[in-house]
Structures are given as C-alpha cells and as structure tokens.
Symmetry: none
Subunit: 246 residues, 2 copies
C-alpha cells in the first residue's frame, strides 16, 4: 500500500542524491519517484548510488513542473527547513506519517523536496497542504537531501508496520477527497465572487489571496465541499450580475 | 547533553560514508565520532561529504579495536540487520532513543555500526548490551551506513527535543486559534450572506447547513481566518443591499 506514495524531487542538482534517494525509498518499501527538471538524469552516478534500487530509477517519472507532478494529488507535503512569511500548517515527520497512513488513497499522496541549495520556493510551498519540518540542530539544520528522504520514508514505514500489526479494519463510506486541481478551481471561482462583491477591488493583495488559499488547503476539502463552495460562488456572482443589469 | 553520545564506525570502507555520517550526526546535535580501523582516514572525500560538519571529522578519534572504542561505556548498542545465531535483547531505533535519554551519563553511551558489506561480526555484537535493528523492507533491507546513522541520530534528537519541551513552556507566535463561539459567529454570518444571494431560499436544508458547519470546523480556523471570512460575508451582504435599494 505505501509503495504508491509519491516522492517528488524538484530541480535536484546532484545525480548521486537521486540515486541515494531511490535506495532510501526502496529500503522503506516506497517505489514511486517523480523528478521535476533534474539537472542530470538518467546518469551513471545515480545508478551507482542507487545500488540495488535501480528499478526505482528506471520507473521514475520526469516532469517539467511541480504542478504537473502533483495535480491529481489529494494530500501534499512540502519539506521546509526555514520559517516562511505565511505560517502554514506544519507537521513533523511522525505527524506526516500518521496523516499519510490515515489517507485512503496512497497513490494520491505526495511528499515534495526542494533543491539541495535552497529547498522549495514559496510558490512551490503554496501548493502543499502541509509543510513538513524535520526538527534538527538549530546550529546546523540543513540535512542532505537523501537523508531527509530517508527519515520521512523511515517514519512512514514504521507507522505502516505498526498499523499492519494492529490489523483492525476501520471501514465506512469515507468522503471522496478533492485533488489540488479541484481546490484550485474553487479558489479561482472564489476570486471571481470576491471581485463581484468588491471584496477585492481593484486587485487583491498577494497576502490576502495566499491566506485564502491556505484556508482552502488546510480544510482538506472533499468533493461535497467543492460542490457546495462552487454553488455559493455561483450564487454570489449571479445575484450581483442580476441586480447590476436591472 | 546528547552531544557526548559516541557513534562508533567499525572498519568503514568508503571515506565518503564517514563524511556523510559526520554531517548526519551534526544535523542531530551529536559530536563524538570514533573510527575503528577506517580504510582511509583522513581523506578529502570524507571532508567534502561532511560539508559543514568538518569539525566532527577533525575531532574524531581513531582506534584499533572495538573494545578500545567502548571499554569505558555503560550502555552499548550494536546495529544488526540480520538475525544472529544467539538471540540478544533487540531494540528498534525508537526504543534505543528512549534508553539513551534515560541513561544518566551520555558520555558513557555508544552506538556501534559495522562495515558496509557485512555489518558487525558476532564477536563485536557480543560486546553490546542491545542489538539495534531498523525495521525495513524485507526484500531490500540493507541501508547505506550514513542513512542508518541518520535514522538513529534523528530518533535520539526527537526524543531529546520532546523531553526538553516537556520541561519548558511552549512559546512562539503561533496563530491564535478560533474558539467554537468564534466559528459559530462566522457560521451565522455566512448564513445571512447565503440568504442574501438566494443560495438558501426560502430556508436551507438541514444537511447543507450541517456540511457548511463541518467545513468550517474541519478547517481549524484561526482568528485571521475568522476576520477574513467575516469581511467576505459583510461585503456580500453590503453589495446585495446596495443594489436592491437603488
């Protein structure tokens, strides 16, 4: 089950790190690697460092943007060492593993890692439901990329094993989670509605829109929520247009 | 306190691994590295891989036997992937971290790692109080040396931080969470706005209002969110009233 969880590496510079990540993933039972604009791939150095995990590299998907890598995902974690201007919901590796294991479709879960030098951009982080933070020595916080991946995969595997051992089947007609694209659709619709009622006029501040996006993402919308919110936006826009034409 | 815990590497073949171990240790606040008969040390490759953790390498102690490395220790863990002929007390990384943090003198604690190829010998393992086992994919269990060290140091640091946090009060400018009453205030305001745009007309279904309430509650609103949402409701109601009076 956990093998379908997506590990996404953005703009990795060193192919050796890609190989080490493949090995770290396979050690902990994960298989799905997605590379966004890797500097060098495929590459002999990556294959060598992957050791027996070469199959992960062979099946790796290469894409050109983070959005492309995660657009169908329902639960997205972005790793972040530094504090950002907008406080986003933050989780530790352990909390991340708990959330991942609770999520019904592991093939809609992504954990995203930035470049070796500077991590994920604020733009990339704003696509994520949660920011994932590995508590570390404040005097020397920057982990090697493959080590960070190892820790996350380790926590996921440990929780998986624990859950397997408990073996109890919790069933129920769970709601259908919304994908990132569904949520972004709501976000755009909302922007139109807010414009119609002059809430954002003439143009919204970047911070306000970022806060609204965060609010939608942290709510972990399901498809019922999406339909209700779109209905609300539609009603607002319709009402305003009606009164403005008459 | 945890900085004095000893990481002991036995007969390491690849100097790159020694460097990566130094970095992994420093990331998690550990400082004391002991090398038993390293194949190549010091070595430029090690220094390069250590990145900013070169100080750990410079202070590393080199000895000629495991016994020499741990003879003054009171609590010794030996990592072991395979089952051995003699059943020894076994611990996971988490259990290891708990034992380490409970031990009074951290400078008498050692965690020992074997060679890259075959791990610790039975002879070496017999010097240890506990065998330390990292649960991993049964089809591909062998972790890279530095990754194994990273996981152990990570668990120790997390337990250390947890213990620290229990002692002092949790501070930080976290967002102010909204109380249930704040959320219900938003809910009522939203109901008025939805009525204004005829989204609920003449009266809402119970299920719809329940879903909206659930949506607000699951978003775990903070006071910034409350203010934004109330601003949105106000703008909707105002805009509609304006167009209806003119």
């Amino acid at each position: 089950m956990i093998e379908k969880i997506r590990i996404v590496l953005c703009e990795t510079s060193h192919p050796g790190n890609i190989g080490a990540v493949a090995r770290a993933m396979k050690n902990m039972g994960l298989k799905k690697l997605v590379l966004v604009n890797p500097e060098k791939f495929p590459c002999a150095v990556a294959t060598e460092r992957a050791a027996g995990a070469d199959d992960i590299l062979q099946q790796a998907e290469v894409v050109t943007s983070l959005h492309e890598a995660v657009k169908d995902c329902e639960l997205i974690f972005g790793t972040s060492a530094r504090m950002r201007e907008i406080p986003w919901p933050k989780v530790t590796p352990k909390q991340c593993a708990e959330k991942v294991l609770k999520h019904s479709n592991s093939d809609k879960v992504a954990i995203v890692f930035g470049t070796e030098r500077s991590g994920l951009t604020n733009e990339e982080l704003s696509l994520c439901n949660f920011h994932l933070y590995i508590p570390a020595n404040p005097q020397y916080e920057a982990l090697n990329l493959s080590q960070a991946v190892q820790i996350i995969c380790y926590e996921i595997y440990q929780h998986y094993v624990e859950k397997e051992q408990q073996q109890d089947t919790l069933l129920g007609d769970a709601p259908v989670p919304a994908s990132l694209d569904d949520v972004m659709g709501v976000f755009e619709h909302l922007e139109q509605a807010l414009r119609a009622v002059d809430f954002i006029d003439p143009k919204p501040t970047r911070i306000l829109m970022l806060r609204l996006k965060r609010l939608l993402l942290k709510a972990r919308l399901d498809m019922e929520d999406v339909n209700i919110l779109r209905g609300v936006c539609k009603a607002i826009i319709y009402k305003v247009s009606l009164s403005e034409t008459t």
